[in-house]
């Protein structure tokens, strides 16, 4: 039975939901980039590069958000080290604990990939970083691309598992689907962020956009299917997500503006050109908006 009397953690949306969102974009983008690297798709190299350029700066923002929400921010390092045993610490039954370690590994891998693309583009100016690049380049790039994309998926998904592994009615009732939903959303917002960045820098060809568009379409279809199943599974406990303010954010922001409309535009197809470019921008912006609304509505409605 779902407990009638549980308490909400009062996580602030601008810290926790925002972290779920930004971490998701970084992880989704990194995954796409590293997959192409692993597949040796040299002709899609511009996608990989863009992905790596996006992932690391975004993931740098996330610890700030996480630490800011702590009651005792200066103790954040307790997450990695338990002083009373004088040993590193991880609680394997706590998604929060395991996820923090995964975030650390993912941050490291995305840093290596970031330095790599800087070197590739001849933008590595600091001699220290140059030396570092030569040093770690002895490890094949594919190895940490593979590790990074695995932990990227982890970072994208554990946040949903974290919500499901509580006794709050909405989060318990939507178990075990929020992790999946966040993974799908991370993939789709990651692809959208890459598109936006490439359009901005006028990089990319019709093929690259076509590929990203095709991938985003599948990700959005998975997402909308998961949302449908989740609402059925949650039944009456989904009420906070379907009514009131968070109902507007979720149904209007995520489902309609963030998935259905982009899916429809995406389906009609567009060619990135003079007019198509603005269309592609619109779709990418809508997808990114929908992803944010998804995190805010699920995190905040569960605390009502």
């Amino acid at each position: 039975m779902i407990s009638p009397e549980t308490q909400a953690p009062h996580w602030e949306w601008y810290y926790i939901a925002m972290y779920f969102y930004i971490g998701g974009i970084a992880a989704g983008a990194y995954f796409i980039g590293s997959l192409l690297e692993l597949l040796n798709r040299e002709n899609l190299r511009s996608i990989s590069k863009t992905a790596y350029y996006i992932a690391f700066p975004l993931i740098c923002i996330t610890p700030i958000l996480l630490i800011a929400d702590l009651g005792r921010p200066f103790r954040f390092w307790h997450l990695f080290f338990y002083t009373k045993d004088a040993a590193p610490y991880m609680n394997h039954t706590s998604p929060l604990s395991v996820g923090t370690w995964a975030l650390l590994v993912f941050g490291g891998m995305s840093f290596l990939s970031f330095v790599n693309v800087l070197a590739e583009d001849g933008r590595l100016t600091s001699p220290g970083l140059k030396k570092f690049h030569v040093l770690f380049s002895r490890i094949p790039h594919k190895i940490y691309a593979a590790i990074g994309s695995f932990f990227g998926f982890f970072v994208a998904g554990y946040t949903g598992v974290l919500l499901n592994t509580t006794a709050r009615p909405l989060w318990e009732a939507t178990d075990p689907l929020v992790g999946s939903l966040f993974v799908a959303s991370a993939a789709s917002t990651g692809a959208a962020a890459i598109v936006l960045f490439m359009l901005n820098r006028k990089a990319g060809t019709s093929e690259t956009f076509g590929r990203l568009e095709a991938f985003d379409r599948v990700a959005m279809i998975i997402e909308i299917a998961l949302i449908a199943v989740m609402l059925v599974v949650a039944g009456k406990y989904a009420a906070p997500l379907l009514t009131g303010f968070y109902g507007v954010l979720f149904l209007g922001g995520t489902v309609l503006v963030g998935i259905l409309i982009p899916l429809w535009l995406n389906w009609k197809g567009f060619k990135p050109g003079a007019a198509g470019g603005s269309m592609a921008t619109l779709v990418a912006v809508l997808v990114l908006f929908g992803g944010l609304m998804l995190r805010i509505s699920l995190v905040q409605a569960g605390q009502m």
Partner: protein, 270 residues
């Protein structure tokens, strides 16, 4: 040798001595004053009364580690009815959701089986709060950490019982060895059943791996605000993680298909 408490709600009188004793022993501050002045009224006005019988806190919190519930069951014209009281606190679950969720080992179990928050370790991530199926543990803005009943950790490690049990004038709360308390509870239950209280039941033998603080209720536990068979959140963790991995694989396959090499056709960048 787990220590715990047995709360026999059939003899609770709702005097709140336990609430007071808890606050005194643990040095917990009172709630903001229940009365304040409003313009144009000569007398102070009550503003944070719960309006629910004699309930004065409404729930457990970082400063209310004990909460006496008042359950009024009266008919329309109040000619007949029952009035239940039940003193609630942390149950010191054997499989504790809060402890399982803690990422920094701030929440630990001591050698006496009680679940204890180490104030010098807690970082205030607040993840334990939604992880407790009983809504017990809560956050204090003042300390930036979470607080809850410690089962009087300091007292019991020095040979005393809990402050609430000591103060209870009717013996509704008793402290002791869990196995001993269970014997007492079973005896009282069969006595009550013999007297015709067929709905009487014991809550906490199986819930969350067994509660070290358990209850004798005169009606269904939900009447007392306690969930029937709550699931310890972490017992659902594996399934949740597995489904997420399956979705991740599906997304990866989608990516492989979207980005696969298309025959011989090769487009060069730019």
């Amino acid at each position: 040798m787990a220590k715990g408490m047995f709360v026999d709600t059939s003899i609770c009188t709702g005097c709140k001595a336990c609430q007071v004793a808890c606050k005194e022993w643990n040095g917990l501050p009172g709630e903001p004053s229940h009365f304040h002045k409003v313009p144009n009224r000569p007398y102070p006005v009550a503003f944070n009364f719960t309006g629910n019988s004699y309930d004065n806190t409404g729930q457990l919190s970082a400063t209310d580690w004990r909460h006496v519930r008042f359950i009024e069951q009266f008919n329309e014209n109040r000619t007949e009815g029952r009035w239940f009281f039940s003193s609630d606190s942390c149950k010191h679950c054997t499989d504790a959701g809060c402890l399982n969720a803690c990422p920094v080992k701030a929440i630990v179990r001591t050698d006496m089986g009680n679940v204890f928050v180490q104030q010098d370790v807690c970082i205030g991530c607040k993840y334990c709060i939604p992880s407790c199926p009983y809504g017990v543990i809560n956050f204090s803005e003042k300390t930036g950490t979470v607080h809850k009943c410690t089962l009087c950790n300091d007292r019991i490690h020095n040979g005393l019982g809990t402050a609430c049990a000591k103060a209870c004038p009717t013996g509704s709360i008793s402290f002791g060895e869990v196995s001993e308390l269970k014997k007492k509870a079973d005896a009282r239950l069969s006595q009550l059943k013999g007297l015709g209280f067929t709905k009487a039941n014991i809550y906490g033998y199986d819930e969350a791996g067994g509660l070290n603080v358990f209850y004798l209720f005169m009606d269904n536990p939900t009447v007392y605000g306690q969930p029937l068979n709550p699931i310890v959140p972490q017992r659902r963790l594996f399934k949740s993680a597995a489904i997420t991995v399956v979705t991740a694989i599906a997304v990866a396959v989608a990516a492989l298909i979207s980005f696969r090499e298309r025959g011989m056709k090769k487009e060069t960048e730019k």
